[in-house]
């Protein structure tokens, strides 16, 4: 079941790590494109490469590129190694209203210092996972990682609490009371925790999510 995900993921990994030989070639050709002074700094090879490795179409990638360079707010030769800070990403209109925007940045960021900054490839990775054609497995996998606030591989009670608090917003009148929260978490665990270990792990999460009729249609971000 996971093989598809892993496959695509490994492909994404290749995108994410420009150290790979293939991509180095590409980035070089990207430089040529820049020197040529074309409107789009993405070379054709790169474009098709990205297209291969993501669920995005050419138009999507070009659009994403435009938006990303806008976020960078300056023309950069080496856009592949430049990162946009988490705050700037979170200010994007598509993410501005999202209560999980910081988590999304952290999950998709490959920055070594774990500050949630996003490179162009991270950005594409994110859009790909949130695109129309991404599979349920990938979407649920990333959803799980987004919800896993402490990055420990399971959704425990603290994660769930944070998740609910994110959903209900910051103000105290909208937040659930302690009793309500406990009740809610208990119910969630009753429903989803198959092995009764008090946490929701990835497979349990995916099991629940795959039954949901409208997760796939709502777990989308469109630029």
């Amino acid at each position: 079941m996971l093989s598809g995900l892993l496959h695509k993921d490994s492909e994404l990994q290749r995108v994410l790590f420009p150290e790979g030989p293939e991509l180095k070639v590409c980035s070089r050709s990207g430089h040529i494109g820049i020197m040529g002074g074309s409107a789009s700094h993405l070379s054709k090879e790169q474009l098709s490469e990205y297209q291969e490795l993501t669920f995005l179409t050419k138009q999507d990638i070009l659009h994403a590129y435009r938006i990303f360079t806008e976020l960078l707010s300056k023309e950069l030769d080496d856009f592949q190694n430049t990162r946009v800070s988490k705050d700037r990403i979170c200010e994007m209109p598509e993410l501005k209203a999202n209560p999980f925007r910081e988590r999304i940045c952290l999950v998709f960021s490959t920055a070594a210092e774990k500050d949630g900054s996003i490179s162009f490839e991270d950005f594409l990775d994110m859009l790909s996972a949130f695109s129309d054609s991404a599979t349920l497995e990938i979407k649920s996998h990333y959803a799980f990682r987004i919800f896993d606030f402490d990055d420990d591989g399971t959704l425990d009670k603290e994660d769930l609490k944070k998740l609910v608090n994110c959903l209900t917003g910051g103000t105290s009148d909208t937040q659930l009371s302690e009793g309500e929260m406990n009740q809610l978490i208990q119910n969630i665990l009753e429903e989803s925790d198959i092995d009764k270990d008090g946490t929701v792990n990835l497979s349990e999460f995916q099991h629940v999510i795959s039954r949901s009729p409208d997760f796939v249609s709502s777990f989308k971000i469109v630029l």
């Binding site: 209203a97 209560p99 209900t168 969630i188 949901s212 409208d214 709502s218 971000i221 469109v222």
Partner: protein
Amino acid sequence: MWKKFGRLVYNITVLFIPWEMRIKKIESHFGSGVASYFIFLRWMFGINIVLTIMTGAFVILPELLAGAPFGSVPSKTIPAGYVASAQDLDTIWSLGGYLQYSVMFYGYYGNDRKIGRAGYRLPLAYFMVGMAVFAYSFIILLRKMAKNSRLSMASTSDENYTFCWKVFCAWDYLIGNPEAAESKTAAVINSIREAILEEQVKKKDRSLAMIISLRILANILVLLSLAGSIYIIYFVVDRSQELERTKVELTLWEKNEVSVVVSLITMIAPSVFELVAQLEMLHPRTTLRFQLARVLVLYLGNLYSLIIALLDKVNSMSMTDNSNDTGTSFLATRALPEEESLSTIVPEIRLRRNSSFSSEDNKTKPLTRFNKTALFDYNILSQQDQCWETYVGQEMLKLSIIDMLFTVGSILLIDFIRGLFVRYLSDCWCWDLESKFPEYGEFKIAENVLHLIYNQGMIWMGAFFSPCLPAFNVLKLIGLMYLRSWAVLTCNVPHQQVFRASRSNNFYLAMTLFMLFLCMLPTVFAIARYRPSPTCGPFSGQDKIYDIVSETIVSDFPVWFNTVLSYVTSPVVALPALLLLFMLIYYLQSIARSLKFTNNQLRIQLQIERTEDKKKVFQMAVARFQHQEDDDKKTEHESDVASQESSLQESSPRRNGSVTNFDSPLSAGSRIQSISQQVAHAVDVTRVPNLPENPSTTAAQKHRREHAFQRNPGGLQGATSGHYRGKLSSSRVTKLPEDIHPDAPFRKCVRPLHYSPSEGTPQMILGRRVHTARYILVNEREPRKRLMRSAARIPKHYKVDEPRGVVEMLPRNMKRYTVHGAQRTNPQLHFSGEEEDEEELEQGTFSRSPRPHSLSDLHQPTRFYIGDSKDSRILIGKDLTQIRYEYEDSEPLRDHAGPGSSQAQRLGKGPVPTNQSVGAHVKWKTKQKADQSLTESDSISVASSSDQQNSSTDQYIQVIHSKDKYLKSSSEKLSRTKSRVSIELNVAEANDLICSNV
């Protein structure tokens, strides 16, 4: 290659999907719910495109190209009396004049059976297309529904994850608009709170009576408004007819009164319902459902009251036709065309009546009576007018147009103006406009979708009578798309009540299907029931519209086909066919039911399996635990036997010196011999070829005896490393074949036992050494010391030490080498029954006692590395500490490898090293304690890891890996003696074999 091509195609198709970007934009602002409306709209648009193509290509175009031109035939000519007003705006507006006599309506089409040079059968095509419109709509709807239900896995309805979905799937990631996000948050909180409330004890409503009375009141109000709307429609129809009769000239308002009123009702009534629904104080979800149901009933009521009025009119028309058309009228039309000027009043009345509804009011009766007595010249006009199909088409088109206007008007007025008003006047108003009364217009998905469906219903109803209706609807939908999307983006806020996309999709479709069926009924009824107009349309002159089919079959198909068809349509065939159909339906339904049943069964089985799995894991954990308890028990046994053991220990010097016979080991050995014999046989094949079985064993035994002999003196005198080497090589002789032979691990442990009793104690010692070398790897140090202590060991001390060793022994080893092996191999170690248990224990003690000589401390690293590698797979967090412990452990071990080999030397030296080793022993003990606790946690972790079944192969690989590691580490450590390395190899191989067996 193909993938690339697919990509390319996908890229291109995305470009051609209409409004994709627009919908995405809306989606990104308002979430999938609002977008689902637009997707539905687009889908409707697609359907209408297909319908337009069908009617356009097969009906309209042939008529335009090959049909008789305008004005050539009476049915295609505007009557002379109306030519003057044919281009007036209000005539055009009421779809009269030139529009009435155009391809837009049924009446224009000629009734020539074949038109053009190619002989296109237009009437047949008209009929077929009319039916195909319905057929296509049905098929496309059903297919879409089936696809949707397959996608949404509707069958898993009993697997309900309400809370999980409410939390995990609550957020719509598409929402980018802060206002939408706010309302979404509010909706999420509401739904969570509701769910919690529902989950908690169902509280009683504070005042049930009041709520019930309120609800009754609300329902009465709704019923009243429904009845009121229907009454208003009838009243309007009545009034328009009265006006028609009394007034000569009708104003624009009077002409369109009915359509306007119907549209107004469809616009206002939903809001009224919504207000009323607030009285009910129902659950929001239920409210929404009630609201939808009421609106649907309202729309259907409107459409039906309209169509019934129309059909009534048609009825009266065909009644007059019937009375008139017997010859005279037909002749009259041709004979007296110039007389029409004489009777201008009557046709005008007639005409005006056309633009309104003539329901079953009694005022039509005098009129029809009047018609019957009318002049001949009336007939020509009435017959041209009395193209009831055109009339119905006109009405439907008019209604559709008015509806469109009202939609545009309501969007502009209710949404846009209100939005402007709220936004720009909120600063200088006395209350907050944005949050209090007028607010911004909400985008009510459900109502809008219903409105779309209603609109489509009108199209279906009128499509047969007005072939251009789908084309008009296409234009209308395009306009609606742009206007709505603009309005949504500029001046709407999303509906508070979340109406989810995919779940509702099938709901929309189901309603559409319902609508389609209900709209098809009147049309089909009209086609089947009424006579087509005699003077206009493709079916004029026929008795029934569908006669065109049979007529074509009779005249244009070969005779045999006709006869075949007559047979097929005869009751003899038709009835059984019908029966067959029923049977088929029943059969399929029962199959579906049984499949459902199977489905349920499988689900239950799955659940049972899951719980069984859980139980199994639990049992395994328990078994492991119990096993440890067993070991504890065993240690109790052991402590029972401790006296015996201590005696043995005490007698060990004796043993070393001479031969001591134990009965029980002997019996055990003899019994096991049968097993081990097999092993020996099997082994023999692969063994060193020049040695037959007995000689080989004897040779080995001889070796052993030798070495044992050597050892014993060595033990007494201080064994040299040479002795060890020799002995180890001998043990290797016995071991090698075992290693080659892929047998169950227990045999390997049994085999040495077989030798030992028969050969006497030294062999026993040796044999057990091999045995323990493989299975008791942990606690060698103690026995080692014990042996050293053995001369003057206090039994009490021994007792304290020994049990711990045993406790550790089995679970550890088993766990290390096998995954489930603990339970499986253990019984074999236990042999059978209690006495064997004791024997085993004795053997254990035996084997422990000589262990120092076996250099089994060499195996220590094996255990650790295997354990290490496996643990690292299972326990990520713990293994670091684990490794640290193990390094601590293995560090002294390495030290001990030296002392271990030289211990014998020390041993030979007598009591002095013993003291030393006691000190060392204490050190070991503490280490071991730490180790033990760790391994226990390991075993728990192993038990808790759920995928034990799969791990065996992994385990195998891991072991090999660890072997390499082990070899590497050990080879640098122990390169001094080659024999040791070889033993290590053997042991490692043995480990592999054991693992592979597992």
